[in-house]
């Protein structure tokens, strides 16, 4: 019987290999382009090209034009769509090898398409070197600092949770070189952890783990922007997914704590809490775990930054006032001939609140799975904000992939396609 199964598998493996080869091949080209192209691909280097920013891939770097980079992205995306089209036929081993290779590669690439990782280093140095709270002082408070010139958001105080700020504090005591590459490595490891967790959650939910791992781990926005950029969204997602897995494994105390720890990294994760409560069998224990987690977050915030960490709420409010061209909310307002003002912002906030209420009701009545509901809630948060950057669009993705909610996956990928269309049009037209 087993002899009959082998020939049936071979064509599928060969079929899987083609789109996977496209994703990996184009991914390698993008990473090497990042290592060889200063400026638009590594925006930190707008203010000075440095060998320590270029990183270990620098000797292999290939300088490319904006159009060539846009073409590489399109090929990578086409390969990714091809992998998704294969559905359950994707070969497990090949998916894991490709995912691992891309995460390592983009972990070693210079910080791509964002300067945020230098903001993390600057906030750590504000706290550790200059004895300033990053919740009260922006990078402008220490303009003589060695990393200041590489920071873009110079007038913005930290928008990150107290656990992330406290955990990165020691990075202010080491050289910026070490700090940068520790953060890049952490993003890559957290990305791999997310892939492993998505795999296990999908298996628990009775979905295809290899499809789920491929849908998240090979996604171009995940690897190029989020791992490549060294964003802390990966740390938040890994912790949140850990909490989801713990709920499924009926370890509610740890699950509640994990969700709150994720919130302590990035506040967005807090949206998952009501759905985790609905999904757990022992809600009291989950609530207790969340309460213990909340105590830990508040304690770290207070001990580390006194009451300054409350200033985070003000920064998050101001961030929602920002406008990016890629934002769906901004695009829809523009389509309707409206502008961002108090009324339209109130309408957007009401739309988010209404969506969350409807999702809680739907999850409560079991019309929608609670894991998918987390993804929908995160998608609603992105869509109703006038400030969207590419790496925000990955928030719903692991939940869409693990729960294999085809509508959520379609909506998330449509959002990413819109974002990538702006990027590609901007690169081709610049």
């Amino acid at each position: 019987m087993s002899a009959a199964a082998v020939p049936a598998r071979r064509p599928l493996t060969a079929l899987t290999a083609v789109p996977l080869a496209l994703v990996v091949g184009a991914g390698v080209a993008v990473a090497l382009a990042g290592a060889g192209t200063h400026g638009f691909l590594v925006p930190i280097e707008y203010r000075g090209v440095r060998g320590w920013i270029d990183g270990p891939l620098a000797p292999l770097g290939i300088a490319v034009s904006r159009t060539a980079f846009a073409a590489e992205l399109v090929v990578m995306t086409a390969g990714y769509v091809g992998v998704l089209a294969l559905g359950d036929a994707v070969d497990e081993r090949l998916v894991l090898i490709a995912t691992g290779a891309l995460h390592v590669l983009f972990g070693l690439a210079p910080p791509l398409l964002s300067t945020d990782v230098m903001s993390y280093v600057d906030y750590a140095r504000l706290a550790a070197v200059h004895h300033l709270s990053p919740y009260r002082s922006a990078p402008w408070a220490a303009p003589h600092d060695v990393v200041f010139r590489f920071v873009h958001w110079r007038g913005t105080r930290s928008a990150y949770g107290p656990l992330f700020t406290a955990a990165t504090w020691p990075l202010g005591l080491v050289s910026p070189v070490v700090a940068l590459w520790v953060l890049k490595g952490a993003a890559a490891l957290a990305g791999l952890a997310c892939v492993g967790l998505v795999w296990r959650i999908a298996r628990r939910l009775g979905r295809s783990p290899s499809f789920a791992a491929a849908a998240f781990g090979l996604n171009p926005v995940v690897v190029v922007w989020t791992v490549g950029g060294g964003h802390n969204d990966m740390l938040m997602l890994a912790t949140l997914l850990g909490g989801v897995l713990l709920v499924l494994e009926r370890r509610e105390l740890g699950a509640g704590a994990a969700v709150l720890v994720a919130l302590g990294i990035k506040a967005t994760a807090g949206l998952a809490l009501p759905f985790a409560l609905l999904g757990s069998r022992r809600r009291g224990r989950l609530a207790l775990g969340a309460a213990l987690g909340a105590i830990a977050v508040v304690a770290v915030g207070y001990l580390g930054f006194s009451d300054h960490a409350v200033g985070l709420l003000d920064v998050l409010h101001k961030e929602r006032l920002l406008i990016s061209q890629q934002s769906v909310a901004h695009g829809v307002l523009r389509l309707l001939g409206l502008q961002e003002d108090a009324r339209t912002r109130l309408a957007l906030t009401a739309a988010l609140a209404g969506s969350l209420v409807l999702l809680v009701l739907a999850a409560w009545r079991r019309r929608i799975g609670w894991v998918a509901a987390i993804g929908w809630a995160l998608l609603a948060a992105v869509v109703t904000s006038t400030w969207t950057v590419p790496w925000y669009t990955i928030w719903p993705l692991p939940f869409a992939a693990a729960a294999r909610d085809r509508r959520l996956l379609a909506a998330t990928l449509a959002l990413q396609a819109s974002t990538l269309a702006y990027v590609v049009a901007g690169l081709a037209g610049a």
Partner: protein, 123 residues
């Protein structure tokens, strides 16, 4: 005949809105690039050519108030024979009347902007 489900129809409608918003947004961006190019030219014309050249000219819109459109334009100045920029100028271009008009220019030295400790980590 297959029935169309309400959630799928809603998702399809949202997709159409997203597509329309994206196409409209990219059109606006492209038009913005053209405006930016005109502003960059006007800015460089205003700066004149007192020797050397201007490199790395970039423009981004900073104000879009009703009835008033002001853009920020920056350029690095490279002295004759030099390979690296010696100073950077930034200015505000007001396009309210349709014709670009430079309303303010700030000039600051790239050398002065270098943090004193940078040599410690720069390769």
């Amino acid at each position: 005949m297959a029935r169309i489900r309400l959630p799928d129809a809603a998702l399809a409608l949202a997709g159409v809105v997203l597509l329309a918003a994206t196409v409209r947004g990219i059109e606006a961006e492209t038009a913005g690039h053209r405006v930016h190019e005109a502003d960059a030219v006007a800015f460089l014309r205003y700066l004149g050519h007192s020797g050397g050249r201007y490199a790395h000219v970039y423009v981004h819109r900073v104000l879009d108030m009703p009835g008033r459109r002001v853009y920020r334009v920056c350029a690095n100045h490279v002295a004759p024979g030099a390979r690296r920029a010696d100073y950077r100028v930034c200015g505000l271009v007001d396009r309210t009347t349709g014709a670009a008009r430079v309303v303010a220019v700030r000039r600051f030295s790239l050398k002065d902007a270098l943090p004193p400790l940078l040599g410690g980590v720069a390769s």
